[in-house]
């Protein structure tokens, strides 16, 4: 019996040793879990809840109880919630309707395609802009001239250039995304301390080896900042594009609900956009943490989370 006890004691000991080993190896997942648990122990989530409660409470009171001027026309909180959660929505859109998910899917798919293209073209372009002075000298001026043109100004051209309703929307979404990614990647390359490049050439690295081992990883923090911005502006111009052209999608929902006087559905579209947009941006942040563990660990040591 005592032997059994001893064995089980050893078992726990071994398990404890294993746990500490896993912690010291600090994989991305372990780090995320650690952050989650420390986040739940901190006052932040509760402050966040109070913030939300305040916002929603004001909405409810201002529209439905006090009926303040300018707010009276708005759909109220309870009206939106009942509509959103209803099995038989008055205006046809709720979490129980297949169409709701179709809109989300169509928008997300457009974002995914546009974001993928913007990254696949923007990151290499930005890397070469930062890496080669010659390349930058003839590409960058054109780039800088096109960049301030808002995606909305491209709408007519996009419709003329691309047939159908799908490609123009993806093109508009791509544009905004692409500028953010390319520009940040370029800044990332420029931010790299020249000592790293010199050290690499001292250690015998050839030009392309410097590119692969110094330029690409050195620019990664800026690239991921760029991708976060990129996915944000992608949603921004997607909705603009969907309002102008296209069928399905959350921007389309908002626009048609407005013309057809389905006010609660507008809010449903807006809230859904907020949630889906947040999820995409969080996913990119997680991917960045995973790909830049050196940075995550450095920041964790500095007490930043």
């Amino acid at each position: 019996m005592s032997e059994v006890e001893l064995a089980s004691f050893r078992g726990t000991d071994a398990r404890r040793a294993m746990t500490s080993d896993t912690v010291s190896q600090a994989t991305s997942l372990a780090l995320t879990m650690y952050r989650l648990s420390s986040w739940l122990k901190s006052p932040r989530p509760y402050l966040m809840l109070i913030g939300f409660a305040g916002f929603l409470g004001f909405w409810y009171l201002a529209v439905e109880i006090w009926k303040l001027p300018r707010f009276a026309e708005m759909p109220g909180l309870t009206q939106v919630l009942t509509e959103w959660l209803s099995r038989d929505p008055t205006y046809g859109l709720s979490i129980f309707m297949e169409e709701y998910y179709l809109h989300i899917w169509v928008s997300t798919r457009r974002i995914a395609i546009a974001f993928f293209l913007a990254t696949a073209i923007g990151v290499p372009l930005g890397l070469f802009l930062g890496w080669s002075k010659r390349f930058m000298q003839f590409v960058f001026p054109v780039f800088e001239l096109l960049r301030p043109v808002p995606p909305l100004a491209w709408v007519p051209l996009a419709i003329v250039m691309f047939h159908g309703s799908e490609t123009p929307v993806i093109f508009l979404t791509f544009l905004a995304s692409f500028y953010a990614t390319a520009l940040n990647t370029m800044l990332g390359v420029e931010s790299i301390d020249v000592s790293y490049v010199r050290a690499a050439s001292c250690l015998g690295a050839k030009r392309w080896q410097v590119f692969r081992h110094i330029i690409v990883p050195g620019a990664l923090p800026y690239i991921f900042t760029g991708l976060q911005i990129s996915v944000g502006v992608a949603w921004f111009s997607l909705v603009a594009g969907e309002m102008v052209s296209g069928q399905y999608g959350l921007g389309y929902v908002i626009n048609t609900s407005y013309t057809m006087v389905r006010y609660p559905t507008i809010i449903i579209g807006m809230v859904t956009l907020g949630i889906v947009g947040y999820v995409t941006s969080a996913a990119i942040r997680l991917l960045g943490d995973y790909m830049m563990q050196w940075r995550t660990r450095e920041l964790a040591l500095g007490g930043e989370r």
Partner: protein, 296 residues
Amino acid sequence: MNVQPVPTSGFSPTPSLQAAAQAARKGGVRIVDVVKMYGVEGAGVLAVDHCTFDVPAGEITVVVGPSGCGKTTLLNAIAGFHSLSGGSIYLDDEMLCGPGRLKAEPGPDRIVVFQNGALFPWKTNIDNIAFGPLMQGLMTRAEAYEKARDMMADAGLRGIERNYPGEISSGVRRRVEIVRALMNDPKILLLDEPYRALDSLTKSVMHEALLEIFYKNRVTIFFITHDLEEAIFLGHRVVIMTTRPCRPKKILDIDIPHPRDYAVLTTKRFREFMDETAAAVHEEAIKAFAAGEMER
């Protein structure tokens, strides 16, 4: 200011008795009449002005001068980061740069340890150390990592192989960087004020660690600093530079026997060297200040 003459020091150092022994060693650098101008010819700034001195093979040569005097320019020319405007630099009697080839090619025979450290933060310590041989294609992955592990253990750096440079103290980072350089069996190490950012306690530990590495490897060291005490403590030879444009003002052979440790700092001989040179360094510092040279 009258300077007490010391037999082993002088403006043109005579070949010492050790010269024959040193000839067998690698990494001697001869700097001959080097001139470096920045900017347009004629309207440029003269950074290095007809500078001539030797870095004997297998010894530590320390260059001391006020900040911004152009000593880093000299180091950059040896390393192959900058071109010369005139003169030539030889490594073991082979011309690195000079007439017809103004810029040397950077290479693993001359490795720089940078002022602010240049370990790649996105690579683990061992990946950093194995980087050189892997890039040059000299070793297989297994061989490179085997050697890196051995060298880290030798340097007392066991246990941090899988850590990133951002996770270790700045003093340890410098040691990792020196090991990364030594991995390539360089002829000469070029250290550009490597301990400038460290606190004085860490600095003293680093000095002894550097000497230990030197005694073990006998690699030629070219060390830049503005700290006179550091220079005399470490160097076989100390070259005191004038402020910009930089040129040797005084070359001293420090005859305090190696191996040295921190007890040297309190010896009479060390104080004599300090007294002899402090005035010269101070004079240049005042000139630099008057010329408005800024701390970079």
